[in-house]
């Protein structure tokens, strides 16, 4: 099981290192975008792995691979995790 990395606060998804697992903290987007991310599996406390940074930002959530604009990724806050549970 991955453990929480030594960070004092959640960071934007767009600042996560490629390949590093993380846990979703919050989504600071409008209801439509937040609802869509939720339906796609990016739910609270879900674990994810950043596959690609930049434009677009690609994340793996379970068996789902999501592509989001960098501007969206910067409004998704995550807790970086140690290890590789994803």
């Amino acid at each position: 099981m991955a453990s929480l990395a030594s960070t004092t606060r959640p960071i934007p998804l767009c600042e996560l290192q490629v390949g590093q697992p993380a846990r979703l903290h919050a989504v600071d987007l409008d209801d439509g975008a937040a609802g869509l991310l939720d339906a796609l599996g990016l739910t609270s406390d879900s674990e994810l792995r950043l596959c690609k940074r930049g434009e677009p930002c690609i994340v793996q959530v379970g068996g789902t691979r999501l592509g989001v604009s960098a501007s969206v990724a910067c409004h998704i806050l995550v807790w970086p995790l140690n290890g590789s549970s994803i």
């Binding site: 439509g32 975008a33 609802g35 869509l36 991310l37 939720d38 339906a39 796609l40 599996g41 739910t43 792995r49 596959c51 690609k52 434009e55 677009p56 690609i58 793996q60 379970g62 068996g63 789902t64 691979r65 999501l66 592509g67 989001v68 604009s69 501007s71 969206v72 590789s84």
Partner: protein
Amino acid sequence: MASEVRVAPTAETAAWATSRIALVGNPNTGKTTVFNRLCGARAKTSNFPGTTTSTRIGRGRLHKHREVEVFDLPGLYQLTLDLPEVRLVRGLLDGDKGTPPDAILVIVDAGNLARNLVLVGELLAREPRPVVCLNMIDLAARRGVTIDADALARRLGVPVVPIVAPKGEGFDTLRAELAAAVGGSVRRARPAGSPDRNTPAGDLRAWARSIAADVTKVKATAGPGMDAVTDWWDRVLTHPVLGLAIFLTVMGGLFYGLFALAQVPMDLIEATFAWVGGFVREVMPAGAVRDLVTDGVLGGIAGTVVFLPQICFLFFLISLLEDTGYLARAAFVMDRFLRPFGLPGHAFVPLLTSHACALPGIMSARLIPDRRDRLATILVAPFMSCSARLPVFVLLTSLLFANQPARAALAFAGCYVLGAGAAFLTAALFGRTILRGKAKPIILELPPYQVPSLSNALYTVRDQGLSFLKTAGTVIMAICVVMWWLSAYPRATPSAEVQALQAQASAPGITAERAAELTQEAAVLEGRQQQSHSFAGRIGRTVQPIFDPLGYDWQLTVGVVTSFIAREVFVSTMAVLAGGSDDDEGVLDKIRVMKRDDGSPVFTRATAASALVFFVLAMQCLPTLAVTRRESGRLRYALLQFGYMSVVAYIAGLIVYQALRASGIS
């Protein structure tokens, strides 16, 4: 399966022929492949092709020669989302448009069980309860994921059938379970803790995660290797430079393949119609009926059906591309270019599909979550050069650059660039006026890379080909017959000039070769006088002053006016109007040699270029206007689309004609 109770077949089974099965599932779960497997070649109809954004209906045979109707519904993530496609599915399941389905088949991606189970949980709270089909178990296994289907069935309280849809594995069991569900012969106890309609979203997700965790085994070593390969491809295909280069190569290859592959069957079709026309002319006695069959029906239909191969190949290639998973990546490549014009990356698929036909293109705009973005895409989609424009482009570019294939090809490609450019500039204009705002950032699921399904592509081709032929055999044929009648009546008396030529041809002492030339000359002159005297000629003359500044004579005006019903009618109309020319020539050649009343060519370089630009930009498709009205929810948007595109087309055609004339090109 301890909780299963078998019930004796009832009178309901007698009604299987009219029983309905609804296919529901998340996007990218292989739903369309399951539909095609269930219905095979008997899929009755496809409302709209390409991305499944509407209901496709087919007939499937479960067993004992009993048939059921199968509905392929749009993909959706949750029934509670407030999106157009979700409302459509909810309405159908609730029986808003007729009776509800007799059975629901929910297709689940085995590699995404927890997420897919949220939708299953919502469906479990409804009646009839679904049959669950666990698809893509092979892909999941490659990621090291295996699912205990029996345990899942016990937890859900409904049948669960593992399948590999592209290979047809598991379909015997699936058909048997569906037969039982349709007949109402299987009832299972609802397990404790099953969600109901009042279960909060958070609890539903927790329930889905809990079940997924209980029935799934993951080999930790299997996944990363495959993920690394996918990561690499994703980085390459969405790279700002490499991704764009690949995109341009793929699109260039698509269009090159389209024309390279379609040429031979097009030639065959044209030769076949020419042979049939000649045969009919030989066996039928001369008169109005023969003229109707050869010039009206065969001539008009040939002008349309000749483009069937291009339409089939376009849908075939797009279907293959969509199956590979590339199109979703391409949407991100295009997002960088579309966003400055106020269009989201989501608009890429609708705009690409519009190159086949604006109808499915506009329909697939439903996948764009934001209303402003959706409206902008709908309004500009018809600018994309659809397959109905192909015949017109082929005709006019070949008239412009006869025996200059490289220039003709360049002009042809230019049509696509002009259409796309007009779409983007219009989106930018609307974004600063009637649809103020910026496009929403893109959020998109990236489906796994996979080998495309040949059978899916072939079914798409079959559906679209039949749909095109149906249009050609009904609307276009009717228009052709009407056009022939309008151009053939009232009959004109042969002029003195014609009679003189005929007399010369039959004069004693003249060589057979010279007699044939004079007869041909008389026939062409008589045909032109007949056209001029006909109803079509009179109508064309009445409207012609509007198009005179663009260089169009009355014949070209008739072609343009009739094509406002459907633009593909243009070539067939021109073919019918050109019917009096040499019968041994092909349709395109007949049109090429059309003459004005004064004997000058109908198509000069200036008029052909002007008409080409007009057709690239004009809104000439009644069904598209109807779909725009429906999808936008407002008649005014359809009227805006029609008025705006018509005005832009007219002004652009005028500028091209006048500029070429001013440059000495006529």
